[in-house]
């Protein structure tokens, strides 16, 4: 492209040499490349506004209505919210129980993913023959579509003698009778958590491992020379070195875990009773299965304050990594 400056094509730079007065003014206000920038951004902007921002505000509008599929909505103000918070109705009670279930479910899953992910990353960060191979193996569940993981766990949990876990229990004589992993209201939530942890743990391990590899080896050497034990090195070198990774992974995984219904939908459908009715499942139940769009839209919105706080801090941290 040498010599093109003298060619007939007009480059932006040449345009910039003698621009009209109004162009200079718009550039001062909108920025040097405003025209090409917004042209490049236009398709993405349509997606962000039309498919994300607009539905988000449509959800808020829906939450103020009593709206059934195919019928015009009736404006009811804050009735949906009041019903969920205080209403002595079946849906009100269902919502309040789903708050408890959602918190227990999310907290248990996140805590287990954190601990297991950290342990796996610590192991995989050691030097040993074949570690790339072991890494690949341990991360495989991450690549399996979650609907397939959910079905596989449902099949392993099957409450009759051909279910894997019951087969093992019966053959080894550990349990005298079949365990109803998913039909027993006391067990169903924990069985679901185990399956979700299985699918989600590799993401945490990958993040932690990448974070550990970014910690300079000199820090560990210095700590060793100072006589720090393995546990002290973990506490004073590894954990502080991972703080950003932990914060980002924690918030991302919390948002995803809390808002995903795939496992519960397949394993229990929210039952038995409402024992596993996490809020995205309730959203689906009310909004789609029973076609009460207004009520359904209200459910996730009532949890949004938590997620908005996380999204706020997460956005800040994620953008900071790109500076």
């Amino acid at each position: 492209m040498a010599g093109s400056e003298s060619s007939a094509t007009v480059s932006p730079r040449e345009l910039g040499e003698a621009p009209a007065q109004w162009m200079l003014a718009t550039r001062r206000v909108l920025g040097r490349d405003w025209a090409s920038a917004w042209l490049f951004l236009l398709p993405a902007l349509i997606v962000l506004v039309g498919l994300i921002a607009y539905p988000f505000f449509a959800a808020i509008l829906l939450s103020f209505q009593n709206k059934l599929v195919g019928r015009p909505g009736v404006w009811v103000g804050l009735d949906n919210y009041a019903n969920f918070l205080f209403g002595n109705t079946p849906t009100g009670q269902q919502f309040r129980s789903s708050v408890v279930v959602s918190f227990v479910y999310t907290f248990a899953a996140i805590a287990a993913k954190f601990v297991l992910g950290m342990l796996a990353a610590l192991l995989l960060n050691e030097k040993f023959p074949g570690r790339m191979f072991f890494r690949a193996l341990i991360f495989v569940p991450w690549a399996i579509p979650s609907i397939i993981s959910a079905f596989t766990w449902q099949w392993m949990y099957a409450g009759s003698k051909y279910g894997l876990f019951n087969m093992i229990l019966v053959k080894t004589g550990i349990a005298p009778e079949m365990v109803q992993w998913l039909a027993n209201p006391k067990l169903a939530l924990w069985s679901s958590v185990v399956a979700v942890v299985w699918a989600g743990m590799p993401f945490w391990a990958m993040m932690f491992l990448a974070g550990m590899q970014a910690i300079p080896a000199e820090l560990y050497e210095a700590a060793s020379i100072d006589g720090a034990s393995v546990i002290q090195r973990f506490r004073h070198v590894t954990l502080p070195g991972l703080d950003n990774v932990i914060a980002i992974t924690f918030m991302m995984s919390t948002i995803w875990t809390a808002n995903s219904l795939t496992f519960v939908y397949v394993l229990t459908g929210g039952g038995p009773g409402n024992a596993t009715m996490i809020f995205p499942m309730l959203t689906y139940q009310l909004g789609i299965a029973t076609q009460q769009l207004g009520r359904g839209a209200t459910v996730p919105l009532m949890f949004m304050p938590f997620f908005l706080i996380m999204i706020y801090f997460l956005t800040k941290r994620m953008l900071a990594t790109q500076r």
Binding site: M1, A2, S4, S11, R13, V29, L30, S36, A37, W38, F40, L41, P43, A44, V47, L48, L51, I52, F56, A58, A59, E126, F128, R135, I138, V140, I144, P145, I147, I148, F151, W155, Y162, L164, P202, L209, A210, G211, V245, I248, T249, A258, N259, T262, V266, T283, Y284, G287, I288, A297, P300, F307, I311, L314, T315, M318, L319, A320, T321, Q322
Partner: protein, 285 residues
């Protein structure tokens, strides 16, 4: 402590270390792979072997569950639908996301940091809030029960993700390179296509793989927006297989294995880049 005692204790510690290391690895490998092994074992058994004399391995491995899944159900059609949606979405997400990333990471305009923030925020907005109003939007557009509607819906998570990832990679490319192209008379689009794209091509491949995998694995939107059998992707199609048979597990697990092949294959082939790409945002800096 004498020299030999020190060596002795060192050796003992290293033996303990090996024990913890390999014990831990065995635990994690079994934990990670056993469910997949069980999927495979079930898929290789006859119905009789699955439901009568359950065992931890197939006495006589057969492929009948696979052929049943492929030829006696609509699973092949579901796979084809998944593939169509996934490829179209991946291409669209690149076409939409890459110029956006270029504008945000390279161009100077008012609203740039607002757009950067919007991309991240929209990437994080949970699907649970969006699927009900989207159901309404797609109904009004006549896109319910149609693959086109699913393509539109999948742009929700692929476009912000691609734009965000590409922003990160493009910021690593020296500004002088495309400034030089501008001096040579390229316009911004030419500089994106001829200068920037070749430099970020490996990153582009990684982002495309992520978009492909995420779309391939998607379930919630597919379940809510698609009811007609001929338009189902395999993730919703599986539900029908599970509910439509008295003894579905052999066929189910065969289908599940086949549905896992594309993302697992992608993961195995590109493992190194997947891991670095996944953590790029969180670990750098």
């Amino acid at each position: 402590m004498s020299a030999s005692a020190l060596q002795h204790s060192k050796r003992r510690r290293s033996f303990g270390r090996q024990l913890v290391l390999w014990g831990g690895l065995v635990f994690f490998v079994v934990w990670s792979l056993f469910p997949i092994y069980w999927m495979l074992v079930t898929a290789l058994k006859t119905n009789l072997a699955i439901y009568r004399d359950a065992s931890l391995w197939p006495a006589q491995p057969v492929l009948e569950q696979f052929s049943k899944a492929l030829f006696q159900t609509n699973f092949l059609m579901y796979l084809r639908n998944s593939l169509t949606v996934t490829i179209v979405v991946t291409v669209l997400a690149m076409i939409i996301g890459v110029p956006a990333a270029y504008a945000i990471s390279r161009l100077s305009f008012r609203g740039r940091s607002l757009m950067a923030r919007s991309v991240v925020i929209t990437y994080l907005v949970p699907a649970s809030v969006l699927f009900i109003p989207l159901f309404q939007v797609l109904s009004e557009l006549g896109l319910i029960d149609r693959l086109e509607g699913l393509v539109v819906a999948y742009l929700i998570f692929t476009v912000p993700f691609s734009a965000w990832m590409m922003m990160g990679y493009m910021l690593d490319i020296p500004v002088e390179l495309d400034e030089a192209a501008l001096v040579d008379g390229c316009n911004r689009l030419q500089s994106l296509i001829y200068i920037m794209l070749p430099l970020v091509l490996p990153a582009l491949a990684v982002v495309a793989l992520f978009a492909f995998t995420n779309s391939w694995n998607e379930f919630l939107y597919a379940m809510v927006f698609i009811g007609r059998d001929s338009q189902k992707t395999f993730t919703v199609g599986l539900i029908g297989l599970a509910r439509g048979d008295t003894f579905p597990w052999g066929v189910m697990m065969a289908a599940a294995l086949m549905g896992s092949i594309p993302p697992v294959l992608i993961y195995i082939v590109s493992q190194k880049w997947v891991v670095s790409g996944l953590s790029a945002g969180a670990v750098k800096g």
